[in-house]
Symmetry: C2
Subunit: 336 residues, 2 copies
């Protein structure tokens, strides 16, 4: 039985095991600092499809199928897949998973989706009724730019605060058997909105949500930053990271600077890869978690991480209607 | 501990209690056959807002707050709300729930969302870590027409197979305490796509998903249609209902005709209210479940229902790219 502690943290009794993880990315991500950890790097961003949306679906499917293969299972062994993405009506997941014949629970958490899918998958295992489930998500630079900003052909200028949507996908097979890495605790986030309206400054919009989830998660569990090899956000980029550290220090007296890592700053070399404030998109924290972090725990490089993925819950329509950008962050503690 | 039986049915040990339910709707729904069961009928579809999307958010918030009040609780007592809607990036839920300060797990199941949110809320209770959660969803005729079809001002023609998106919202407070009505079992659906491409014939696109979920759910639980006061779909309308009954009879030898009810055919008088094939939208099955069905169980009018809500997992973009319409149906068995 899961145990609720503090504000909204669930200590999991079942300790869902991450049986396998897979990360697949596009060419630009495959040229970045984490290139050696990905399961596949697709040089052709179209994935052989005739639209960017279909390419994203293919990429998600590749991640899910690779994770299932690495777990030495087949699609028929998976009892439910929890997934979502940034596209309108989540068509990345809907069409990517259509042919697999696996029961499907659709999620929407914007760029926080990997943490949300891990939370929901963990609750499914904790309920005692599921033995093997998949948590996944994806994003694609070209489908996201087209939908949220401008068609690529327009050649729109990007301000320095903008982040670069990662082309990639991550997937984990979670199981009820004991093993490492495992999920020790989950934290479902609460919407935070401090009134930021600039869609080219998502880091600032999402930092308050990351701040709330990290500070609540730490206080609920009675842990401090030094108890973790890393407190991993995804993806608030350079501007959001600076804000997050400042907010945590000023309002909570918590200093995470020695252990804080942001997936958006890890996947690209911001200086040479022209990505401005760093990577973003559901696929960013998903592909970084499912390569560097989870492989690092498997290899003994890391023992404990707190993974807090953030999402901006706006749409182009809400922004055009003058709304600010609500942020959310969901968290999981993963141990080796 | 939940028990998995058959293909994908979970028998819940905790028997999550539906502590309260609330349904709020717009004027047209308030003129229909179910008018006496709604908690609120809003004559002004704008809800005092300056856009349809904001109106939808207000309506969702009204349903969630009403359900919480009817449970004699406050927002602070709710440990997580599970919600989603049809709008791009689920802004109906994101903005509707923003000010409530409740942890939020975003879902996307198109018009199946009420069943999906009940499934996820039930798993949360079953995990042992949640005592009080909310499952909700919404839709609004004007925001949906604008986004999926044409702006209202255009005055587009609607073919006879088209369904009318319900302006409404439903919300349930679920608790871990024993009581009636309660959720006995859940069934997370699998995507079905038989190649229907006509966005004005959603009933046909979704009927195969309803067929799979209902037949699997019945065979998993070893029950037959006569064990239920009603097998409730939402929302496949007139065309989808005919197809569903035929498919179940022909392929599974199951005759549901004496107990089958479709929320899309209940909420409107199709003959006089000019809604063609019936109601649709997340808010349709949500508002009908949260009025007629759940109140009926409370009053002893019904004892057992199977609620199977269907969703069409397409987007306008996928349709324009020539894709067919994947359908999904999630199910819950509710007993009194």
């Amino acid at each position: 039985m899961g145990q609720r502690i503090g504000k909204n943290t669930i200590l999991l009794d079942s300790k869902p095991c991450i049986i396998s993880n897979a990360a697949v990315v596009g060419r630009k991500e495959g040229e970045g600092p984490l290139k050696d950890g990905f399961d596949a790097i697709f040089d052709d961003g179209t994935m052989g499809q005739d639209t960017w949306e279909k390419a994203e679906s293919q990429m998600l499917r590749a991640a899910v199928e690779t994770a299932i293969q690495k777990a030495e299972l087949t699609a028929g062994d998976i009892q439910t897949v929890f997934s979502g993405d940034l596209l309108n009506q989540c068509i990345g997941s809907n069409f990517g998973l259509r042919e697999l014949g696996i029961p499907f629970a659709g999620l929407y958490g914007a760029c926080s989706t990997m943490a949300l899918s891990l939370c929901m998958a963990s609750l499914a295992i904790e309920s005692g009724a599921f033995e093997r489930v998949v948590a996944a998500t994806s994003s694609h630079f070209c489908s996201a730019e087209k939908q949220f900003r401008y068609p690529l052909e327009y050649g729109g200028q990007r301000p320095p605060s903008a982040q670069w949507t990662v082309t990639g996908s991550g997937a984990c097979v979670l199981g009820s058997t004991k093993g490492r890495p495992y999920i020790d605790a989950i934290h479902i986030g609460t919407i935070q909105d401090l009134g930021i309206k600039d869609g080219n400054n998502m880091g600032a919009a999402m930092a308050p949500a990351a701040k709330k989830t990290i500070s609540d998660f730490l206080s609920d569990t009675g842990t401090s930053p030094s108890d973790y090899d890393a407190i991993v956000t995804g993806d608030i980029g350079e501007i959001g990271s600076t804000l997050l550290r400042e907010l945590l220090m000023r309002e909570n007296g918590i200093d995470i600077s020695s252990v804080h890592k942001d997936c958006g700053l890890m996947i690209f070399d911001c200086k040479t890869q022209d990505v401005h404030s760093g990577g973003s998109g559901c696929g960013c924290s998903a592909s970084v978690l499912c390569s560097e972090w989870l492989n690092g725990i498997r290899d003994g490089k890391y023992k404990n991480i707190m993974f807090a993925a953030t999402g901006a819950l706006m749409s182009p329509v809400s922004s055009l209607q003058g709304e600010s950008i609500p942020g959310i962050a969901h968290g999981v503690i993963i141990r080796g």
